[in-house]
Symmetry: C2
Subunit: 673 residues, 2 copies
């Protein structure tokens, strides 16, 4: 008989999470998908999303095969296998998430017909499916490979698989979604002067698909990467050897603890998901409170249970403090993002005020809000680093990242709820449902906007901490293998690494913004063509060819992500082959400017968006005024900032650190050891 | 009898430069100031500039007295004296430069009446006065204090004086100039729909004053700081001890060499100034070629003479290669700035093309041009660092900075020529001179625009290299005093330093942009008030109250620079008192993101400006089209980017590094040694 060991809880938790996701999906699918018109809209979005994903998969498979072969040759075959499974799991989680999200939008709207509480239940369940799939598949993959190989250094392959899919989902998806969005708006709103979500616009479905592809699949893959990345980094550092508070941890303890913390987080998240419910006539505040109960509830539960776990299992409480530092920093970063992007607070209002003197002052004001919003997250990250290191060294930093991400099942549920509610409100509007239902759907959407902003902040912060943990694992492995590295910032190799690494996020942003521009201009051409050549289209008597627009922006996205993707993967390897010290500097530089730029772009974009909404509520002349026109320009500038370039940086910094860690065996061959 | 020593050449070169500046000024003042109308315009700008400077001086004196007392108490009285003189010399150079520039604008226009060659001669002479004053006073100050105290560590006080004035001139001046500019435009062009330089606009003189205050005094003080900063950093490192190519340099050699290289540079610059002349009917290309002959000529001369000097005096040619690396990097960075901001090249043209789809695409496109433009300068800086360090260690990096700045007398002359030619063209226009003269003045202006872009790039690059040299001097001094510092990027103090240092440029930019916004809104209020209350103003029968606008934007600038200034000076000291390692990380982080952001902002701003001009030349519908309107918005956004926030970062990174080096004695008291 196999004796019970705590680590066995990890795959059990993973299976449980997946089972729970299955149950939630079953419950969602039992709901009515609404009127035939609603169903048709929902189906078109669903089919569009699948078109995008299938096309993307074809490219991904080619990429994955090539990387698998390279890994088998350069690293080892186990790592290659882990890579393949990591890529597959991440893609699977994204696929399920998008499927369920696109099946839930109309159902959420239909449920809102009965009551707002029902609407929240359906929409949030759909988010919870994504959350559970990500954490379930994540911990399942890591724990299975640990069982198979017993060596965390191999599981890095699994993480790199997750990173690679995140690259496609976040960068490719980000370029796709904003090409479609800007292309649709530039011809529809600006030239043809038809409303934003008008079904006559051939690019409107591509735009709606983009919300799911970018905010559901992209966000999911991003956080899947962070989740497994932080666990793996902690395991690798633990494997090499950890001394905390003067006590040397046993290798097994140090390696399995990250998995167990994640396991505890899954249980806490499942429990907290049941906290999220409201009564029949709930207002925005009540909805907000319900979601907050889930997020804070899971964090508090996590703190309590992990305290007991560490106390019982290891008895070295320093590790708990490191975990707690990460958990708290994650919440602070999320709240800071909320403060800088919500129109209840002064930053967004100051942008609205600046819009009165035109678009230029709107842009400058939004840009300065974005830059100033780096202060709190940076302090939170620094505090977490100092506390975590103080108590548990570099291992502590990785544990802090694990702590920040431990309740991901819950936080990702609230993130993914956002785009579902957004789509639901759009469907309620387009299918001309009654005013009561539309008001309810809009309330659900408004709350979703807030959670989306928090989610973006959280994604950035956790990406930075995960990348740092991976960076620490990289240096640890090199030093452990006997490579002497002078990582001092007075070493010119390190300085040059810092400069080049610092520059990469700027370059990456510029390339992704350009890619959006190119994609959008192709869509502009296609929409103009359809307006011109399809008779009766503008009068609503003929249907536009939605699929062509989806196809065009998909190909454009996949083509234009090649250069930034190559940059992200090849630069660290190339630099590492020249100097492993420069590679250290490169990673540190990229993490610092990547974090700063990502926060600036995400919050500036979010703030512009909400400044526009603030004016649309009737302030400074409301819709149609000059002030409103100025705010629309800021909002458009913010689109690629917050939905393409900014989030892509999360991937850049993690992928580069993951690549460095993954190719340590190659570097060791070159540098001896 | 005193025996001749090579170092005596330094003060001689300084005196010669000042004498040459005096001669040039005499020659300029002999020129006719043109018609009474021209003289009046010129006088108003002159008086306005003096109003600003005098008001600024009152604040500066208070600041200087406080800092002097602190330095005398915390460091030593010699440093305090050096500080006072450094501040005075920098202010003096700026004052002379602005006086001569504002006296030369009308004279340049009047000289252009005779021939374009005459116009160039007067305009360029005015720039040369600034160039000669800066290098003359710079080398004079450094060499005199070396003669007096013989210890470069005291001369750091002189550098900090220069830094402090640069802070006022660049940050205060930058806020002033863009508050006035944006304020004038927002009411004049947008609301009252009168032309840009219309004398009925009460803020128009404040705007013209701003060009001189920002581009002449600001640029001059910035480069004065870089010039003396790089020399002092090299001297401090040399004083501690330098081994190059296995040979230990004598302390005296290592300390005086930076001064001698600067001395050689002054002679080369003076010679090269005579290269800059054109015939009677010169076109833009010929004008360009003449200025290039000066810049490249001085660099080639410098390379040849310094080769001989190092060979003859020290015989360690490694130092020459380090110097050459810096000299070449400076030119490459300048040329890269030209490429990204000139409308002959594709980056600016791509922005113009994007403007066809509105302001949002114009902004996104310009922003991505700015970010991508970091690539070449970063590679140039990295190459210079690697080459310089390879040959001569950290001393080499400081020598590279000295090399880059050695021909400053010449490069600053071409920079300062820009705003003088700009003002001359404005005066030619406003005083309704004949078409021939105006065409000539416009040609002179167009060439000036190019040199200004190159100058900005050069200022940023040299600031980064100077800051790096100062940073190296800081760590060298600490280590020399027996403080063990773990400056490894795996040390959490260093990581936290990197994050906080990296964030400061973002914060600094946000604060300076906000300051411009606040200042501009005060000007808007005042201009509206004058339009409303001064009878007959709009019909040209009454004169506006120019001085009030100057006064308002001056006070606003001085008030709003307090917070960013305090941030720049106090952060490094506070962090250093907590951890000297974190201070190391802070400086490195700030230099990296400061350089990247400064390039992005400067080049995006320059590119937007020229994209607008490109459209105004008649492309995409030309002036008055929707495309033009979109490009105007980009240009306005770019104004504070390129003229306030971007250049302010040069000061931030140098000032922080200078403060760290200056307060080493204080840090040593705390940290033992």
């Amino acid at each position: 008989m196999v004796e019970f060991e705590p680590v066995m809880l990890a795959p059990i938790a993973g299976a449980l999470a997946l089972a729970f996701a299955g149950y939630l999906t079953f419950r969602i699918m039992r709901q009515s998908p609404g009127t035939p018109q609603m169903r048709e809209l929902s189906d078109t979005i669903y089919r569009g999303a699948m078109t995008f994903l299938n096309k993307e998969y074809r490219v991904m498979v080619v990429y994955a095969v090539i990387v698998t072969i390279i890994l088998a040759l350069v690293v080892n075959y186990q790592t290659a296998v882990a890579f393949t499974v990591g890529a597959f799991f991440s893609a699977l989680a994204g696929n399920i998430g998008v499927r369920v999200a696109t099946k839930s939008n109309a159902r959420t709207a239909a449920a809102a017909k009965r009551s707002i509480g029902e609407g929240l239940r359906v929409g949030f369940s759909s988010g919870a499916v994504m959350g559970m799939c990500v954490v379930g598949l994540g911990i399942l993959g890591v724990s299975i490979f640990y069982y198979l190989f017993g060596d965390p250094r191999i599981i890095v392959g699994f993480g790199f698989g997750a990173s690679s899919i995140a690259l496609f989902a976040r960068v490719g998806g980000g370029i796709y979604t904003k090409s479609a969005d800007m292309g649709a708006d530039l011809v529809g709103k600006v030239e043809a002067r038809i409303p934003e979500d008008d079904p006559r616009n051939p690019a409107v479905i591509a735009d709606n698909v983009g919300d799911n592809v970018g905010d559901v699949a992209g966000m999911g893959a991003d956080l899947f990467e962070s989740y497994v990345g932080s666990i793996i980094a902690a395991m690798v550092i633990g494997f090499i050897g950890v001394t905390v508070g003067g006590i040397a941890l046993s290798q097994t303890d140090a390696v399995i603890l990250p998995m167990l913390l994640a396991t505890v987080g899954i249980f806490c998240s499942i429990v907290a998901i049941f906290f999220v419910r409201v009564g029949r006539g709930a207002g925005i505040k009540t909805l907000h409170a319900a979601l907050n109960k889930g997020v804070f509830g899971s964090a508090i539960l996590m703190a309590v249970v992990s305290f007991l776990l560490i106390w019982y299992l290891i008895g070295v409480m320093e590790i708990f403090y490191a975990m707690l530092a990460g958990l708290i920093a994650g919440i602070v970063i999320g709240l800071a993002a909320e403060y800088y992007t919500e129109n209840r607070f002064s930053p967004v209002q100051s942008i609205a005020i600046s819009s009165q003197t035109g678009p230029a002052t709107n842009i400058i004001s939004g840009f300065s809000v974005g830059m100033i919003s780096t202060l709190i997250p940076i302090i939170a990250v620094c505090a977490a680093i100092l506390v975590a290191f103080q108590f548990a060294g570099l291992y502590g930093i990785a544990i802090a990242a694990v702590g920040m991400l431990s309740t991901l099942g819950m936080t990702l549920a609230t993130d993914t709820y956002g785009p579902v509610a957004d789509n639901a409100a759009g469907i309620a509007e387009m299918s001309k449902m009654g005013k009561t239902v539309r008001t309810r759907a809009e309330r659900l959407d408004a709350v979703g906007n807030t959670t989306a902003a928090i989610g973006k902040g959280f994604a950035i912060g956790s990406a930075a901490l995960t990348a740092l943990a991976l960076f620490a694992a990289y240096t640890n492995r090199m030093v452990d293998a006997g490579i002497t590295m002078d990582l001092s910032i007075t070493n010119p190799s390190v300085i040059v690494g810092l400069f080049i690494g610092g520059m990469l996020p700027f370059l990456f942003c510029a390339l992704t913004m350009r890619a959006v521009g190119k994609g959008a201009s192709l869509i502009v051409g296609e929409v103009r063509r359809q307006f011109r050549t399809i008779p009766g289209l503008m009068k609503g008597r003929a249907k536009p060819d939605y699929d062509r627009c989806i196809g065009i922006s998909t190909s454009a996205a996949l083509r234009n992500m090649a250069l930034p993707a190559a940059l992200a993967i090849l630069t660290p390897i190339a630099v590492g082959l020249v100097s492993p010290e420069a590679l250290g500097g490169l990673l540190a530089g990229a993490i610092v400017t990547g974090l700063l730029l990502a926060i600036t772009l995400a919050n500036a974009g979010g703030a512009w968006d909400n400044a526009k909404k603030y004016i649309e509520e009737g302030r400074f002349g409301g819709k149609g005024s000059e002030t409103h026109a100025a705010s629309v320009i800021g909002d458009t500038v913010g689109d690629p900032f917050k939905d393409t370039s900014g989030p892509s940086l999360n991937i850049l910094i993690k992928l580069m650190s993951m690549a460095a860690l993954l190719f340590v065996p190659l570097l060791l061959k070159v540098w001896g050891g």
